[in-house]
């Protein structure tokens, strides 16, 4: 399963501040897209607008041919638009496995009564959901931590738990907000490899907001550059990083952005 998502003339305002200005872009089906730009470029706002966490002031958002502009975030999630957060958001005192299982929400589940009374359907579902979760955990190298309580894990592992929660339902469209932030070089490499492998298996559409150019070049075949709430350009990593507009807006301030 893989879906494309398209923003047309999307404007997002927070009071007097315009976070996204008439942005039109597409995350093409089955492609891994890197979203780059200096701080304040509107990358996170773009993800929020696509996933429904921010209302758009004007413009439209289409998932395949369906207009989802007015759909609330949870409905978009059920359609398979699943996002991760820049700040890790986990059930801190639950286990890694439970956190990942939360991500199975959009898959067809037994009814609440069935779950509460532990009827047969629930037992069967529980088993298959656990298998899915274990698979993702293994892929991300978290197998041995599945019973650990999340708040006792190091930061890097907590990041991966969030990625696992996003991936567990095999969503057709994934939006990740700086998933590699706070990971060391090896961790970044492993994450990029794992994401590439999942992509190879399921062919999902993936957008990754990321500062690390190596990470983007390694993982992404398509890059979208943004600055000051505006869409600058899209293209292959080589094209985009070589473009003078990107050079000035991104690299010109890159030391500032890293700080």
């Amino acid at each position: 399963m893989t879906d494309s998502i398209r923003a047309q003339n999307v404007t997002v305002r927070y009071g007097a501040f315009t976070a996204l200005r008439e942005v039109s872009l597409e995350l093409p089906k089955g492609v891994i897209t890197g979203v780059i730009g200096p701080n304040g470029a509107g990358k996170t706002t773009l993800l929020n607008a696509l996933s429904g966490f921010t209302a758009v002031h004007s413009g439209t958002i289409h998932l395949e041919d369906r207009d989802i502009t007015d759909l609330p975030a949870y409905r978009r999630a059920r359609l398979g638009v699943i996002r991760g957060f820049q700040t890790v958001r986990l059930l801190e005192r639950e286990s890694v496995l439970d956190n990942v299982l939360l991500g199975t929400e959009r898959l067809p589940q037994p009814g609440d009564i069935s779950q509460l009374l532990a009827l047969r359907a629930q037992w069967r579902w529980k088993k298959s959901a656990r298998e899915e979760a274990r698979e993702v955990l293994q892929l991300l190298g978290l197998s041995s931590e599945s019973e650990r309580i999340v708040d006792s894990l190091p930061f890097a592992s907590r990041r991966l738990v969030e990625v696992a929660r996003v991936l567990v339902s095999a969503p057709p469209l994934v939006l990740l907000d700086e998933p590699a932030a706070g990971l060391d070089q090896r961790g970044r490499l492993e994450l990029a490899t794992a994401l590439a492998r999942v992509h190879q298996q399921s062919g999902f559409t993936l957008a990754v907001v990321e500062h690390d150019i190596d990470f983007v070049t390694k993982l992404c075949t398509n890059v979208i550059a943004m600055d000051s709430g505006k869409f600058i350009m899209a293209g292959t990593p080589e094209e985009v990083f070589a473009d003078p507009r990107v050079q000035t807006s991104y690299f010109g301030r890159s030391t500032h952005a890293q700080a």
């Binding site: 996933s51 966490f53 975030a73 949870y74 409905r75 999630a77 059920r78 699943i82 996002r83 991760g84 957060f85 958001r89 986990l90 059930l91 801190e92 005192r93 639950e94 286990s95 439970d98 299982l101 939360l102 991500g103 199975t104 929400e105 959009r106 589940q109 609440d112 779950q115 509460l116 009374l117 532990a118 629930q122 529980k126 959901a129 309580i149 708040d151 006792s152 929660r165 339902s169």
Partner: protein, 338 residues
């Protein structure tokens, strides 16, 4: 964040995991323990134990709402009242206990739907305020419809006679409430291992993550509230059968606050915590009676509750979990020296 206390609390799990087969021995032990009163207790203590079980069932319901879903209710006592008076009114009209139970479940659930629906999009604090208002309204209703409820005078409840048990005997009352307590505890424990339970925990910990995976928050909040009300209703209905007499003060704001205190003191994150808290709250006044100072309870009881709540941040359950955890570490260290 990385103090030793933090790492200790992290190492010890203080939340439920759902039912697993390997819990079976623990469940047998718990049921065996619950049968101990049969051997040693006289009528009075059997009566106290039955009351405790009824109260504990209501506390478990509040634990689901407050501890698991992070929503605050100040009407759990009132839902006990809904159950108790539903049973009372039906039994006065000759309805059998089995049908009473079904009606109690249905009516407690529907009342919770009506109270909960308007508050769903609001913060947990709003639910607390709305339930507070509902509790007051319910008490007013009990007092002012005395032709049905007996009003401030209270009402004698006909004993339940089911399967050869007659709740006018403390032993029978205890066995009946125990059966309910066991089944409902298993249901409550099972919740933690279900997606329903995880949705609730997600709402408690991070609504954003809940939404991002596709949870429709109002529905989950409503299910938690209805579930807690049904537990409250069943607890109240059993309470009325155990005591044989109900009056509005049994189900007023104080009752609700005591239930909340039980959940917090016992450890709101776990079902067992709700039981520990219920036992603490019910047995504390009995303890003062035992030492011949019943009046001291009013004075020292509140202080003792406050101190317990302040000292044990994860409740009695957390304290016990930590103690056993420490004991285990000490024992294993000894083992390694040898």
């Amino acid at each position: 964040m990385s103090s030793s206390a933090q790492s200790l609390s992290s190492a010890i799990r203080i939340s439920d995991r759902g039912l697993r087969w390997r819990h079976l021995p623990a469940i047998f032990v718990a049921v065996a323990l619950a049968l101990v009163p049969l051997l040693f207790f006289g009528d009075y203590w059997m009566f106290v134990a039955a009351k405790l079980l009824a109260f504990g069932i209501a506390a478990m319901g509040l634990q689901i709402l407050y501890g698991r879903a992070g929503q605050m209710s100040l009407a759990q006592g009132s839902f006990m009242g809904v159950g108790a008076y539903t049973g009372y009114i039906l039994s006065s009209n000759g309805v059998s206990p089995g049908l009473q139970l079904l009606a109690v479940i249905a009516i407690a659930g529907v009342v919770a739907l009506i109270v909960g629906l308007p508050t769903l999009r609001l913060s947990p604090l709003r639910l607390a305020i709305v339930t507070l208002a509902f509790g007051e309204l319910f008490n007013w209703l009990l007092i002012n419809t005395s032709q049905f409820t007996g009003g401030t005078q209270g009402a004698p409840v006909k004993p339940f006679v089911v399967l050869g048990l007659d709740t006018s005997y403390p032993l029978d009352a205890y066995l009946l409430t125990l059966a309910f307590a066991v089944v409902l505890t298993l249901l409550a424990l099972n919740l933690a291992g279900t997606q329903s339970g995880r949705r609730m925990a997600a709402i408690r910990d991070t609504e954003m993550a809940a939404i991002s995976v596709g949870v429709f928050l109002p529905k989950t909040k409503l299910i938690a509230f209805v579930l807690s009300a049904v537990f409250g209703g069943i607890g109240g209905w059993l309470y009325s059968g155990v005591t044989g007499f109900i009056a509005p003060p049994d189900f007023d704001l104080f009752a609700s606050v005591f239930l909340l205190a039980a959940v917090v003191i016992g450890g709101s994150r776990t079902v067992i915590g709700a039981w520990l808290g219920a036992a603490f709250i019910v047995l504390l006044p009995e303890g003062f009676n035992l030492i011949g100072q019943p009046n001291l309870y009013a004075l020292a009881g509140g202080a003792l509750l406050a101190i317990t709540a302040l000292l044990l941040t994860d409740g009695l359950y957390g304290a016990l979990a930590r103690l056993t955890g420490m004991a285990r570490t000490v024992l294993s260290r000894k083992g390694s020296i040898r």
